[in-house]
């Protein structure tokens, strides 16, 4: 299995391969995984697409129907934070909840990509936790950026697993644990529009480029977090993304 991580090492950011409990750096140097300073595994300049209302069970829970057309929104890189990072929770954010999501990372660029070839354009997959703060929702350009574009509110990582190692992205268990208690348990099979369908839809009008990311939506399980919480998002065959919630300064 090929896993690529973005880490901070000796004063610079670099990509490393993950082999068991070791990281192999570009020059061959090896570093224990436990020593890693994880960064978001993102290509600078990548477009970050995200999906709302893309799981039937989550839609039922929120009282929404599936969006037609799909509810796509965009995020800036200021939102990202790496594995084992910290997400600030504003003091008035009593309804802040984690959303564990499968992330498809684009490899081959393309426009008007047919659904049947769409997965050939995926370089790999990672995990995101797309926190939302419901108090900040407003009914303009939903979901509004005050909810979804806050600094460090989208933990992502720990690494990108090569697409070749995930032959079926629609058969992956998704779970979120808060302080060891399961608060989300779903499967990527419940997506309204699957990874291939999303790539076909987005590329109808927009050129997808290497490194672009698609956060594919979250299953049911609404749980509000508190400062001090440890949030673990796990997707089968990829790994576990850990995040710590702290009170905002």
């Amino acid at each position: 299995m090929m896993r690529r991580a973005r880490i901070f090492h000796r004063g610079r950011a670099l990509w490393a391969r993950v082999q068991g409990d070791m990281l192999v750096l570009p020059g061959g140097e090896r570093l224990p995984v436990s020593d890693a300073h994880w960064l978001p595994p993102i290509t600078p300049g990548a477009t970050i697409f995200a999906l709302g209302l893309n799981f039937a069970d989550h839609n039922a829970e929120l009282g929404f129907k599936a969006a037609e057309p799909p509810l796509v929104f965009l995020k800036g890189p200021n939102t990202l934070v790496g594995h084992q990072g910290v997400t600030p929770r504003p003091t008035d954010a009593n309804q802040m909840h984690p959303e564990c999501e499968l992330v498809a990372v684009i490899g081959r660029p393309g426009k008007r990509i047919p659904r049947a070839q769409a997965l050939d354009h995926v370089a790999g997959y990672t995990i995101a936790c797309d926190y939302a703060i419901r108090e900040y929702l407003e009914n303009y350009y939903r979901p509004n950026l005050r909810v979804k574009n806050r600094d460090a509110t989208t933990p992502i990582g720990p690494w990108i697993v090569d697409a070749a190692d995930i032959p079926d992205p629609q058969a992956l268990a998704i779970t979120t644990l808060v302080n060891g208690v399961t608060v989300q348990a779903g499967s990527t099979r419940d997506m309204v529009l699957d990874v291939a369908g999303l790539i076909a839809y987005l590329s109808e009008t927009m050129t997808l480029r290497p490194g672009d990311m698609i956060l594919t939506g979250t299953p049911q399980g609404l749980h509000f977090v508190a400062p001090g919480d440890r949030v673990e998002c796990t997707i089968a065959a990829i790994g576990t993304l850990v995040n710590h919630v702290e009170a905002a300064a």
């Binding site: 300049g45 477009t47 697409f49 969006a67 057309p69 509810l71 796509v72 929104f73 965009l74 995020k75 800036g76 890189p77 200021n78 939102t79 426009k111 900040y136 407003e138 009914n139 303009y140 350009y141 939903r142 509004n144 950026l145 005050r146 574009n149 806050r150 600094d151 987005l202 109808e204 009008t205 927009m206 050129t207 480029r209």
Partner: protein, 209 residues
């Protein structure tokens, strides 16, 4: 040309807000907006210097002339009095979109087709650039004229209010407002926008029906 993320803001035009106030009391809005209403124009939309824009399948589009401010350093929770100190450069942009009446949940693709943000060459920032009139011609005939005087949040207030909940990073560009009466242009037409002190931006609408 633009290293960071391009953010834009709707509903920052005073004339627009006044006209829509009754609608914003009704469903699905129910209350006027509080925070700035932002959107993102991803990299596939950016057309440096302008050029040909493909309108495949679209007969016409809205052409919103806007001033983009490019940050020279990060802005996080800045005060209005300090906000303009974060700006390094400015550029004219044509924010293209499919005409749309809804502010509730417009689709990303309406604003984010390839080439839907022709951007003129940036010039060093000078506060006087925020006093200028922006004139847009379609096929050589004046079609629109406006100025930042119409904005509800001026540039400094807008940067302050956005940076209250997210960081505008060095290299990002913030479009400080789009006019609600933006002209509509059709395939085959030439668009040109000028403002004193800025590099002009031109686009030609191409594409198949």
């Amino acid at each position: 040309m633009i290293a960071g993320t391009v953010y834009g803001v709707v509903l920052n035009d005073g004339a627009e807000r006044a006209a829509l106030a009754p609608a914003f009391a009704q469903a699905p809005y129910r209350a006027p907006p509080i925070a700035p209403v932002l959107y993102i124009k991803p990299h596939n939309t950016i057309l440096p210097g302008g050029g040909d824009v493909m309108l495949d399948g679209l007969a016409e589009i809205a052409v919103a002339p806007a001033i983009g401010l490019i940050l020279g350093r990060d802005a996080t929770r800045v005060r209005p009095g300090d906000a303009l100190d974060t700006i390094a450069a400015a550029a004219l942009a044509l924010d293209l979109s499919e005409p749309c009446d809804s502010y509730y949940r417009p689709t990303v693709r309406q604003r984010c087709r390839d080439g839907f943000l022709p951007v003129g060459t940036p010039v060093p920032f000078d506060p006087a650039l925020l006093e200028t009139e922006i004139v847009t011609r379609i096929d050589g005939v004046e079609a629109h004229r406006w100025s930042p005087a119409r904005l509800i949040r001026d540039a400094a207030s807008l940067i302050a209010d956005v940076s209250a909940f997210m960081t505008l990073e060095a290299g990002d560009m913030l479009l400080i407002g789009v006019p609600h009466d933006a002209p509509v242009a059709r395939r085959g037409q030439r668009i040109e926008t000028d403002a004193t002190g800025f590099a002009s931006v031109r686009a030609t609408l191409e594409g198949n029906a």
